[in-house]
Amino acid sequence: MAFLSAHFVAIVFYVLAVLAVAGGVGVITFKNPVHSALSLLGTFLMVAGLFVLRHAEFLGAVQLLVYAGGIMVLFLFVIMLVNVRRLSPDAAFLSRRAPLAVLSGVVFGALIAFGVLAGSLGHPGGGATALQMVQGHVMGNTEAVGWTLYRHFLVPFEIVSVVLLVAMIGAIIFGRKDAGLEGRGGRMEP
C-alpha cells in the first residue's frame, strides 16, 4: 500500500506507456484493418492518459476529442466504405524491402532513443506548474494554453488557419466531380 501510493504516478505511467506501445505494435501486426484502427484508438486513449498524467489536461481532452472522437471515426468510416475485411500479406513486397524497412526503423528508433536520453540527462523539465503558468500566475492548463496560443503565438496560429484552408481546397479539388472532365481520362488534347 505504501509502495503503491509512493510510486502511483510511475506505475500509472508505465501501464499507460506499455499499453500505448502495444497498441502501436497492434496497428502494424493485425491483419484486419478495423482491428488495426481499434488498436490505434487504444494508443490515442493511452496517450491522452499520459498527457493528463503530466498535467496537460487540455491536451489530453483535445486528444480524446480530435483524434479518438474525430479522426479515427473517419478512418473507420473509410475502411468500412471500402469494406476490406482482411489484408493479405504481400510476400514479394516484404522480402524485397524488409532490410530497408528494418534499417530505417532502427535509425528512427535510435534517433528517438537519443532524444529521450538527451532529454532525461539534460534539463529535468518544468513540473506541473510550468504547464499552468501564465505570466507568472498559476492558472489552469487550458488557460495557459490559451494565453500562449493567442498572445505569443498569434501569428503562427492565424497562419495555420490559412494552412487548413489550403488543405480543404486541396481535398475539395481532388474529391469533387467536375462536370466536363469525367471520362476524359487524361490529356489536354489527346
Binding site: 538527451a118 539534460g122 503562427p156 497562419i159 494552412v163 484552408l165 481546397i169 486541396g170 479539388i173 489536354m188
Partner: protein, 485 residues
C-alpha cells in the same frame, strides 16, 4: 503586443484576404476568366508589394514584431519581393495554359497566392514555429498544385510522391526543432543565436537538432540525398506549376536556410559545415550527372535545378557575409533564367506532352528564330557562360567559397558546370543543327502574355549578366540583418 505592431504585417494580411477573394471569384466564374483572375491576382501581388514598400520596410537595422514572431529587415524584404515576382510571372505564364486546359483557374491562382504568403512568412520568420508554419503553408499549396491536373496519372503520381516525402521531411524537421527546444529551451532565433554564442561546449542534442533541421531544409531545396521526389514531381506537375515550384519555393527555402544556418546557427558553423559540404558536393555531382541521360526536358530541368541548389549550397558552406549575399543574388538570377526556360516548355506544349522531349526542339531555329534565340540565352545562362547572368551568379558563389578556403569544393563545382554544358547544349544543338520532323512540326503557342514574360526574363538575364551591381547592392544590404560581417 500593441496594435501598431500589426502595421508591418499588413502586406501579409492583405495577401491572405486577396487569396480568399480570388478563391470566391474563381468559384463564381467557374472555368472562364483565367486571364481576368490572373490579372486580379497579379494586382493583389502588386498591392502587397506596395504595402511592403510603404509599411513593411525596416525602420533601422533589424527588429521583430508580434511577439518576436517575424523580422522586419532588408533580408526579408529582398526575398519577399523576389518570391512575389516569381509568383507574378508564373501567374501570367499560366493564364493561357489554364485557358487551354479543362481545369478551373480560381483555385489555381488562390493557391499560388497562399503559397506566396507562406514564402513571405518563411522569408521573415523570427521563430522556429512561424518559420515552420510558413513552410507548411507553402508546401501544402505546392502539393495541391502539383496534382492540380487530377485526371492525369503523372500529375497524381508526382503529387503523391511529393506529399509523402514532403510530410516525412517535415517530420524530420520538426523532430530537429524539438531537440533544439529541448537543448536550449527557446524557439526564438535571436535567443538561439545568443545561447549558441555563449556556450562553447559541444552539445550533442543540439548538434543533432541542427543536423535534422538541416536535413529538412535540404529536402525543401531538393539537395542530394533528399532529391528523389524532384524529377517525378517536376515531370508530373502542370508545366507552369513546375516552373513555379522550381523557383519561388526554392528561393523561399533558401531564405529560411540562410536565416537558420547563417543566422541562428552560425556560431555552430564548425559543427555543421562538413555536412553541408558533403551535401553540396553530392548535389552538384549527382544533379549534373543524372541530367545527362534525360530525354524529357522537364526531367532534365528538374535535375538541373537540383544541381543549381548544389551551387547555391556552396555559398552556405562558405559561411561568410559574401557567401550569404552571393546566395541571395544567385537565387534571383536562377529565378529569372529558370522561369524563362520553363516559359519555352509551356510554349511548345500544345499537343499533349510535346515540348517535353528534347527532340521536339529540333529545327526550332528555322521555324521560329526568335524563340530559339531566347532558349539559347537561357541555356547559356543555366550553364553559366558569360555574358549571361548565370555566369555572374556562379562567379560570386564560387569566389565566396574560394575566399573561405574551400578550393576543392569549387573545383568540383566548376568541373560539373562543364559537364552541364553537354545537356544544356543538347537542346541548342537540336534547335540549330537538326532538322525537325517536317511533316508534323511542333507548333508554338502564340500567347502574348507568355511572350512578354519570357521577354522580361531574357532582359533580366542579359542585364544582370552585364551589370549586376544593383542586385548585389540590394543583397549586400540584407547581410547586416543576419548579423554577419
Amino acid at each position: 503586443m500593441s496594435l501598431s505592431q500589426f502595421i508591418p504585417f499588413l502586406p501579409e494580411i492583405f495577401l491572405a484576404v486577396a487569396g480568399f477573394a480570388i478563391l470566391l471569384a474563381g468559384i463564381s466564374l467557374g472555368k472562364r476568366g483565367a486571364r481576368g483572375l490572373s490579372l486580379l491576382s497579379l494586382g493583389s501581388l502588386a498591392v502587397t508589394a506596395i504595402l511592403i514598400w510603404v509599411v513593411g520596410r525596416p525602420v533601422e537595422g533589424a527588429h521583430t514584431i508580434l511577439g518576436g514572431m517575424l523580422f522586419v529587415d532588408t533580408f526579408a524584404v529582398y526575398f519577399k519581393l523576389l518570391t512575389m515576382t516569381a509568383s507574378g510571372i508564373v501567374l501570367l505564364m499560366s493564364a493561357g495554359y489554364l485557358e487551354r486546359s479543362d481545369y478551373s483557374p480560381g483555385e489555381f491562382d488562390a493557391l499560388i497566392l497562399f503559397a506566396t504568403l507562406g514564402m513571405m512568412i518563411m522569408a521573415s520568420g523570427a521563430n522556429l514555429v512561424s518559420l515552420y508554419v510558413g513552410l507548411e503553408l507553402m508546401a501544402l499549396s505546392q502539393y495541391v498544385l502539383v496534382g492540380y491536373f487530377k485526371l492525369e496519372l503523372k500529375s497524381n503520381e508526382g503529387a503523391v510522391k511529393y506529399f509523402v516525402l514532403g510530410a516525412l521531411s517535415s517530420g524530420v524537421l520538426v523532430y530537429g526543432i524539438s531537440l533544439l527546444y529541448g537543448a536550449l529551451g527557446t524557439l526564438d532565433l535571436g535567443a538561439i543565436r545568443a545561447a549558441l554564442t555563449a556556450s562553447d561546449t559541444v552539445n550533442w542534442t543540439l548538434n543533432l537538432g541542427i543536423i535534422l533541421v538541416g536535413f529538412g531544409m535540404l529536402f525543401k531545396v531538393a539537395a542530394v540525398p533528399f532529391h528523389v521526389w524532384t524529377p517525378d514531381a517536376y515531370e508530373g506537375a502542370p508545366t507552369p506549376v513546375t516552373a513555379f515550384i522550381s523557383v519561388g519555393p526554392k528561393a523561399a527555402a533558401f531564405a529560411m536556410f540562410l536565416r537558420l544556418f547563417l543566422g541562428a546557427f552560425h556560431p555552430e558553423l564548425a559543427q555543421w559545415r562538413i555536412v553541408m559540404w558533403i551535401a553540396a558536393a553530392a548535389t552538384v555531382i549527382y544533379g549534373n550527372i543524372a541530367a545527362l541521360t534525360q530525354d524529357n526536358v522537364k526531367r532534365m530541368l528538374a535535375y538541373s535545378s537540383i544541381a543549381h541548389a548544389g551551387y547555391a549550397l556552396i555559398g552556405i558552406v562558405a559561411g561568410t557575409a559574401m557567401g550569404l549575399w552571393s546566395v541571395m543574388v544567385y537565387m534571383l538570377i536562377y529565378t529569372f533564367m529558370n522561369l524563362g526556360a520553363f516559359g519555352f516548355v509551356i510554349m511548345l506544349e500544345t499537343r499533349g506532352y510535346a515540348g517535353e522531349r528534347v527532340g521536339d526542339y529540333a529545327g526550332l531555329a528555322k521555324r521560329h528564330p526568335g524563340a530559339a534565340a531566347g532558349m539559347l540565352i537561357f541555356m547559356l545562362s543555366l550553364a553559366g557562360i558569360p555574358p549571361t547572368a548565370g555566369f555572374m551568379g556562379k562567379l560570386y558563389v564560387f569566389s565566396s567559397a574560394v575566399q573561405a578556403g574551400y578550393i576543392w569544393l569549387v573545383v568540383i563545382a566548376v568541373v560539373m558546370s562543364a559537364v552541364s554544358l553537354y545537356y544544356y547544349f543538347r537542346i541548342v544543338v537540336e534547335m540549330y543543327l537538326k532538322d525537325g520532323d517536317e511533316d508534323e512540326p511542333a507548333p508554338l503557342v502564340r500567347d502574348r502574355w507568355l511572350d512578354a514574360m519570357i521577354g522580361l526574363c531574357v532582359f533580366v538575364t542579359l542585364f544582370l549578366g552585364v551589370y549586376p551591381a544593383p542586385v548585389v547592392g540590394l543583397a549586400q544590404s540584407g547581410v547586416h540583418a543576419l548579423g554577419l560581417g
